[in-house]
């Protein structure tokens, strides 16, 4: 009872005198907590809550100023401290959310950069592909043009039949045109023809195979040797007249590949031949044979053995292929109905 009176008395005395009692622990804690909250990194993001904490502290301070250290002051200070704690926590929460957002945006930006880089790469690859495709195409066109020029040149050569086969463009020269019977030395007249061939093939990039053939008369082995020697002789001539030696090979087939019946004189004459083959480019083996565009007579594509190539009749009908001096192009083998003398 006495204590109570004295407490009451002291409180009243304090009010009247205006003295400050020592702030309770709760109030000091509340002040510290508020400072902590106000200065925390997320405080901007939780400004309303920080403000509420401030007001709460102010109420406690006011009560303390008014009434000194009282239970209610301690209660208000206690509450104010927890409001500050909550405000700080809210600020930190908002800050963490921002960090998460920034990380997600960062990821999105990174993904877009990846996609953009890939698109760029894809574009470059596409360009490269287009360039190389264009190059392949222009090379192909150059090759086709060269082959056409060769065909055009070949047409003008006398004593030569030309035929497009799977193995390539086959120029066939009659053996009697090139060699004395049974021999492998080139006749002078052969040179003119071979000169024409060399000129026609000058710009053609294809490999050349020379193949010698005989009729079936005589020894198989001897025919084989003769055909090889004749092929070699033609090859020599080509090489000494400007054809690079690695471009041309020679082989003999003897009597093994007749193109006509060996029982008739005409047939045997046809079998005695030398072929100059412009080998198909790799990949061209299955290309379609050129159509009969050169003349109504059927141009360069022929089926039968007797007709192998550009028909004289066709040339005449076409008109445009004929040389100016009215020269007859002897393109058919002599055994045909043209009745030209063998040379």
């Amino acid at each position: 009872m006495k204590a109570l009176t004295m407490t009451a008395g002291a409180a009243i005395a304090c009010l009247i005198a205006g003295c400050a009692s020592k702030p309770p622990t709760e109030l000091r804690n509340a002040r510290a907590a508020y400072q902590d909250a106000a200065m925390s990194p997320g405080s901007n993001l939780a400004a309303p809550d920080v403000y509420e904490a401030k007001k709460s502290l102010a109420r406690a301070e006011q009560r303390f100023d008014d009434d000194g250290d009282e239970p209610e002051v301690r209660d208000l200070a206690y509450v104010a401290e927890r409001k500050a704690i909550a405000a700080k926590a809210k600020g930190n929460t908002a800050l963490a959310m921002q960090q998460k957002q920034m990380a997600l945006q960062d990821a999105e930006q990174w993904r877009q950069q990846q996609a953009s880089a890939m698109r760029q790469q894809l574009g470059q690859t596409k360009e490269q592909l287009e360039r190389s495709q264009a190059q392949v195409e222009s090379e192909r066109q150059a090759r086709v043009a060269a082959e056409q020029r060769t065909r055009d040149a070949i047409i003008r050569i006398e004593g030569l039949t030309a035929k497009e086969e799977q193995r390539g463009l086959v120029l066939t020269l009659n053996g009697s045109v090139l060699f004395v019977s049974g021999k492998s030395m080139l006749l002078p007249t052969a040179q003119k023809r071979l000169d024409g061939v060399i000129a026609a093939l000058k710009d053609d990039p294809r490999q050349i195979t020379i193949v010698g053939h005989t009729d079936s008369v005589g020894d198989d082995d001897k025919n084989m040797q003769l055909s090889q020697k004749r092929a070699d002789a033609v090859r020599s001539y080509l090489v000494t007249h400007g054809v690079p030696e690695q471009r041309v090979t020679a082989q003999g087939m003897g009597e093994t590949q007749p193109i006509a019946d060996n029982k008739t004189a005409d047939g045997r004459a046809n079998n005695r031949r030398v072929e100059i083959i412009l080998n198909s480019a790799p990949g061209d083996e299955n290309r379609p044979m050129p159509g009969g565009g050169q003349s109504p007579g059927g141009g360069m594509q022929q089926g039968g053995t007797q007709q192998g190539g550009m028909q004289q009749g066709g040339m005449q009908q076409g008109g445009g292929r004929q040389q100016g001096g009215g020269r007859q192009l002897q393109l058919q083998p002599p055994s045909s109905n043209q009745q030209r003398p063998q040379r």
């Binding site: 009176t5 206690y78 809210k90």
Partner: protein, 119 residues
């Protein structure tokens, strides 16, 4: 006289506590705050769990005060309880959101490290 003074002083000090209404609203509010904190999982976060426990104790204390008729004191205790529960709630949320943000930051870092830009 002295006794009279004492009664008078006591009245001044104690205020009109006997005539305070039962703080039913404040009780409901504080209880709701405690429930919210529990629902958010404050028990799992150490700093939050502490405040949650205190809030529960304060609720208990307040109920006793109400039963004893000290409504005024009960009101203040309920204010404390609500403040503790609120702190618990916000501390729990902070811990969860920070952990989530940390996971995201790490994931993004892993993503960027998995394939350098431009390749």
């Amino acid at each position: 006289m002295k006794t009279m003074a004492w009664i008078g002083a006591a009245s001044v000090v104690l205020g009109a506590c006997a005539s305070s209404p039962v703080p039913a609203d404040r009780l409901a509010q504080s209880q709701a705050a405690v429930r919210s904190a529990q629902e958010v999982g404050a028990e799992r976060v150490p700093s939050a769990a502490l405040h949650l426990k205190v809030a529960n104790d304060e609720l208990e204390q307040a109920r006793k005060l109400i039963a004893d008729g000290d409504n005024k004191r009960a009101e203040y205790i309920l204010l404390r309880a609500e403040a503790d529960a609120d702190a618990a709630l916000n501390l729990a949320r902070e811990a969860q959101v920070r952990a989530d943000a940390q996971r995201t930051v790490e994931e993004v870092q892993r993503l960027k490290n998995s394939r350098p830009e431009g390749t």
